[in-house]
Amino acid sequence: MYEQVVAINVGLAMLLAMSLNIITGFAGQPTLGHAAFYGIGAYTSALLTAKAGWPFFLALPAAGAMAALVGVLLGLFSVRVREDFLAVTTIGINFVVVAIFQYVQLFGASLGLAVPKPEFLGVRFGNTEILGLLILLNALVYLFMRHLPNSWLGLALGGVRNDEEAAASLGYNADHYKVFAFTIGTFIAGMTGSVYAHFMGFISSTDFAFPVSIGVLSMAVLGGLGSVTGPLIGALILTLAPEVFRFVSDYRMLVYGGLLVLMMRFQPQGLVGDDSYLQRLWTKIRGRREEGKANAG
């Protein structure tokens, strides 16, 4: 069913946007190669199920763990370099990972990999089951994100993002938090890749190329980096837009690039981030409604 497939794509995009938001939004570490971790998860899960005969539900967390393993390495690297170098490095990682998928025989090289449909308790996973799984994963990650800003961890990440030195003087080990954000963010991206692989039934290196990373970044930026609901809204808009307007699909990179420039210039906090036009409008409307209620009562 068409609607189901679109919903699955939205669900995948939301997970990716939220996972990038943990790294770039909450911890403030620019990543331009998020699709690499999506791909590592997808290929890990594909190989484990197709070649090693693992059940999908073991391959799913393993895919996350494999992505997170590379994520930890990137995180350890990130604490040694300035942000601009990190941005360039993450682009490099994306290209290297895609090249490995493209040229190494184990990964199917340019032919790609066929991925078996998952089975659980005798139920073969169709799109409905995949969608159900995505809703569950989205709910879990969303709950984590919602809880994060009010937790010590969220405060620590906020402190490190705002002023690393001041945070250090207050007892926060900035390095720990950066690596932690990379670990969690890449873990979620890896799991998402696993779901993608088993939903598609076939993966190839271009599915995880640099433009995909830019797409995910655009979603997070459009909705609002560092806000809890922003990445969800960005993912929804940018996944549905090509379905509604065909031309967006043809000029995808142009739209993403243009959006990034426009958002940075006019609304860097994103559509629903703190102090954005929409948020202020919403506060105003709510204020008026409450006033109305008070007057009526």
């Binding site: 405060l155 402190g159 705002n162 002023d163 001041a166 250090a168 003087s169 926060y172 080990n173 102090d275």
Partner: protein, 233 residues
């Protein structure tokens, strides 16, 4: 309480602090005055562990802390009000204060928060406001408040008067004196020598990375060289 013996420190290859020795005793209010670029802020950062010690001994309550990382030192009841306030702009006032109480016993935090708000009622009025939207004076209060959440025994303050209106500078100095009277040991680095020597009991003069003079605040105020160089007469 705090003891520095022959401390040297570098930024890369260039030496910033030369053979610094000073001590701050429990309950004292000590100031380090000096011109821009004398190394005052670096000295603060060395004590906080944000700039590494190249050589020398750094003791806090008799314990060597020179090699401990900044985030380990904060557990030692030393708190730091950095130059230029450095509050977390995107976070609210409440979050900024809460961050300051990291690793402190959670049961203590409400009491400390109340204490901070009693000293700076203005912060209590703005708890849910993003710190960046506040005035410079309010941000300075927040930076002090954030440090006080640690309930420090030693408070390091870097350039409290920078960029503040005179009336707010006075208020900040009053608060520091009050804290000192209540038992907090204070080490203040300050360009405004007149104010600093007026408030402190003892002082050091730092010039291009060397301590050139030390003494009671009164002696320094009456010292001809200090008068000429720092007190404008």
């Amino acid at each position: 309480m705090l003891e520095l013996r022959n401390i040297n420190a570098h930024y890369g290859h260039s030496q910033v602090l030369y053979d610094i020795s000073l001590d701050v005793k429990q309950g004292e209010f000590v100031t380090i005055i000096g011109a821009n670029g004398a190394g005052k802020s670096t000295l603060m950062k060395v004590i906080m562990g944000l700039v590494p010690v190249s050589s020398g001994t750094l003791l806090f309550k008799g314990q060597e802390i020179g090699s401990a990382k900044a985030w380990d030192r904060a557990g030692l009841k030393i708190a730091y009000v950095p130059e230029g306030r450095r509050v977390f702009g995107e976070l609210t006032v409440a979050e900024n204060l809460k961050i300051g109480g990291w690793n402190e016993p959670p049961a203590e935090l409400p009491r400390r928060l109340e204490k901070v708000m009693a000293i700076f009622p203005r912060l209590g009025e703005r708890l849910n406001q993003a710190a960046r939207t506040m005035s410079g004076g309010e941000q300075q209060m927040l930076a002090i408040g954030r440090a006080l959440m640690r309930d420090p025994e030693l408070l390091l303050v870097d350039e409290i008067s920078m960029g503040l209106m005179p009336i707010l500078v006075n208020r900040c100095f009053e608060v520091m004196k009050q804290l000192n009277e209540q038992g907090t040991t204070i080490l203040l680095v300050e360009q405004n020598a007149r104010k600093a020597l007026g408030a402190a009991g003892r002082g050091y003069v730092l010039e291009t990375g060397h301590i050139v003079l030390a003494g009671s605040a009164r002696d320094l105020q009456n010292d001809e060289a200090v008068k000429r160089a720092y007190l404008g007469g």
